[in-house]
């Protein structure tokens, strides 16, 4: 954790002025970090790495672009940091379900109901997850008021605009990445 390691620099400096200067820098950095973390919680970052990791078990998104062409599947990388010193064993097929939501709305998606064993190893794990740019409910080929009618390519497209990319962990012991702002474009 880079931010946690910075205060130790102060202890290694003998000059009081240097100490004061470094303390000031650290204070600024900490304040900045708090601001970033707070920002990450309240409003998704537009940049690729969204979270400042302070937990021994953490996760964040990495994206190559926040502009996504609607219609097909898009992908993102979730980086899991496991600094707990031990593997995390879960009883799931896969760890995350990812999807787009309107700003501030919770992610709500079905998941295949196989059980299994997914192990989060010690250290960093990078997972590529895919998500849909169409309506999350899916569609039906039979007219039904509860679900949209399928088009020739499947469920209706989401409208263009801003969304949050979120990932829901399939088991409670899996960390949750902060959402990231995505812009759907044609």
């Amino acid at each position: 954790m880079m931010l946690n390691s910075k205060p130790s620099l102060a202890r290694s400096t003998s000059s009081s002025m240097a100490i004061a200067a470094i303390v000031a820098i650290v204070a600024i950095l900490l304040l900045s970090a708090c601001t970033v973390a707070s920002s990450a919680r309240s409003q998704p970052a537009i940049s690729t790495a969204a979270t400042i990791e302070s937990s021994p078990l953490s996760a964040h998104f990495e994206l190559t672009s926040t502009d996504v062409v609607r219609g097909g599947l898009a992908s993102a990388t979730i980086v899991i940091g496991n600094l707990t010193g031990q593997e995390i064993v879960t009883s799931v097929c896969g760890p995350f379900v990812a999807g787009l939501t309107k700003m501030g709305e919770p992610l709500s998606l079905p998941v295949l109901t196989c059980a299994g064993r997914y192990v989060i190893p010690i250290g960093e794990t990078r997972l590529v997850v895919k998500y849909s740019t169409r309506v999350s409910s899916g569609c039906s080929t039979d007219p039904n008021p509860k679900i949209p009618l399928c088009g020739p390519d499947g469920p209706p497209l989401l409208s263009t605009g801003d969304y949050e990319l979120k990932a829901a962990p399939v088991a409670p012991e899996i960390p949750v990445p902060s959402p990231v702002l995505i812009r759907l474009v044609d």
Partner: protein, 436 residues
């Protein structure tokens, strides 16, 4: 028995005329409940304490009749909920003649029920061109009351109530009474218990075919049943994974368990829930489809039965009598082994059919098609592949296999894949009393 119904039920009715307490299977008693039973049901004292033994498999014609009757009038459970006091049950004389049992003590409701049935039949004739003859007979016990008794017996079997220890292995409804499976069909203590505890109910006692009460979905043996808990070998250790679907067979007699494609191709083992083991092999996956634009289906090559485990806990072994295609409004139950292990059930109303979407296994998305949703209850991880059943007065139909769930949905829902895909793609016939 009316002359027309006697003529239409053929060989079975000869035996009915010859003997009063005739041997029949559950489904045949459902479809061709003889009219002597109407006499019994019309007992002025309102009591019908017959306990009969049944042992003959139903015919294909009877199964077809039951399906025709269901298609015409919708689910019997619908009539039971609409007319809880007046609706007594239903049976088919043939594929165009139905008998509705009416509890006349509830006069106003029975009158409305008759009108309702008439309107449904008229609609059916107008919209689908089907001409159905419906007659009404008198019953002393409502469908709802029989359902309550069956539920009570089933609960007692599952959770060790007072009916344990007298050989009960399953329970269901026929057209006018309650059917129980027993491992000790000649045991007088069973009939005495039933007669004393439920004097208003007419019971049919059927010999349990294979499994006994010592078998459960977590400790089963061949022939394998739907709803069995399945584990696989994960680098030498057992991992609880999915649940078996209903049994089926091909034209050569090879038997399979229907299954979910996303569970993966490996060899599966029946296992307990808390501490999975690899000591009880069921069989390997023989065929599997899990790809974009396909339904989520697979087959396990295994000596499969016509039974499935129903309900919470160890489960009650029930017979699959016919495949049933999902229809919006049907009340169905997923028989997943994990939900059952945690004491739950997974029942709800089908809200939509013929759906398609990308569904996630936690890593990737696969564009699955042909699935249906039942609202109100979410399957759990490990339930996949499990049988999805529907209860009718004709017995249990097999609707599909469990695919996915949305536990945070509003309402929560489960996703199933119709058995029609397994059957049509691989040319299989469901294991039922008439086919196996």
């Amino acid at each position: 028995m009316s002359q027309s119904s006697r003529a239409s039920c053929g060989r079975r009715c000869h035996r009915i005329v010859a003997t009063v307490f005739i041997s029949m299977t559950a489904i045949s008693s459902v479809l061709f409940t003889p009219s002597f039973r109407s006499g019994a049901l019309a007992d002025p004292a309102g009591r019908s304490t017959h306990v009969t033994t049944i042992d003959e498999p139903p015919t294909t014609e009877e199964i077809d009749n039951s399906r025709a009757a269901t298609r015409v009038l919708g689910l019997p459970s619908d009539l039971g909920s609409r007319f809880p006091n007046a609706y007594g049950g239903m049976r088919a004389i043939d594929n165009s003649t139905l008998v509705i049992l009416i509890v006349e003590s509830s006069k106003e409701e029975s009158s409305i029920l008759k009108e309702y049935v008439g309107s449904v039949v008229d609609d059916s004739a107008a919209t689908a061109g089907k001409t159905i003859a419906v007659t009404f007979e008198t019953a002393s016990v409502s469908f709802r009351r029989r359902q309550e008794v069956a539920d009570e017996i089933g609960t007692s079997i599952r959770f060790g109530g007072e009916l344990v220890g007298i050989g009960l292995a399953g329970v269901g409804l026929d057209a006018a009474g309650v059917v129980v499976d027993t491992t000790r069909p000649g045991d007088e203590s069973l009939t005495t218990m039933l007669r004393n505890k439920y004097p208003d109910i007419r019971f049919s006692v059927r010999r349990a075919q294979t499994s006994t009460l010592t078998a459960t979905r977590y400790a089963d043996y061949a022939p394998w049943n739907g709803g069995d808990a399945l584990a696989f070998d994960f680098f030498g250790s057992a991992v609880m994974w999915c649940t078996s679907g209903p049994g089926a067979h091909d034209a050569s007699g090879n038997r399979f368990l229907l299954f979910a494609g996303h569970c993966g191709s490996t060899t599966y083992y029946n296992t307990n829930f808390g501490a999975p083991s690899l000591t009880n092999p069921v069989g390997p996956v023989a065929a599997l489809i899990f790809a974009d634009n396909y339904p989520d289906i697979a087959l396990i090559a295994a000596n499969s039965s016509r039974y499935f485990w129903q309900g919470a806990g160890n489960g009650v072994r029930q017979t699959t009598v016919a495949p049933v295609d999902p229809v919006v409004g049907y009340w169905v139950c997923g028989q997943g082994a994990v939900t059952a292990a945690l004491g739950g059930t997974n029942c709800g109303t089908i809200g939509s059919i013929n759906n398609q979407n990308w569904l996630s296994d936690g890593f990737t998305l696969t564009f699955l098609v042909g699935w249906f949703i039942w609202d109100g209850s979410a399957s759990m991880r490990g339930d996949s592949g499990g049988a999805i059943s529907i209860s009718t007065i004709y017995g249990f139909g097999s609707v599909g296999t469990i695919t996915a769930a949305h536990s945070s949905g509003s309402p929560p829902y489960s996703i199933g894949t119709p058995t029609a895909f397994h059957r049509y793609i691989w040319g299989l016939t469901l294991n039922t009393p008439s086919t196996l």
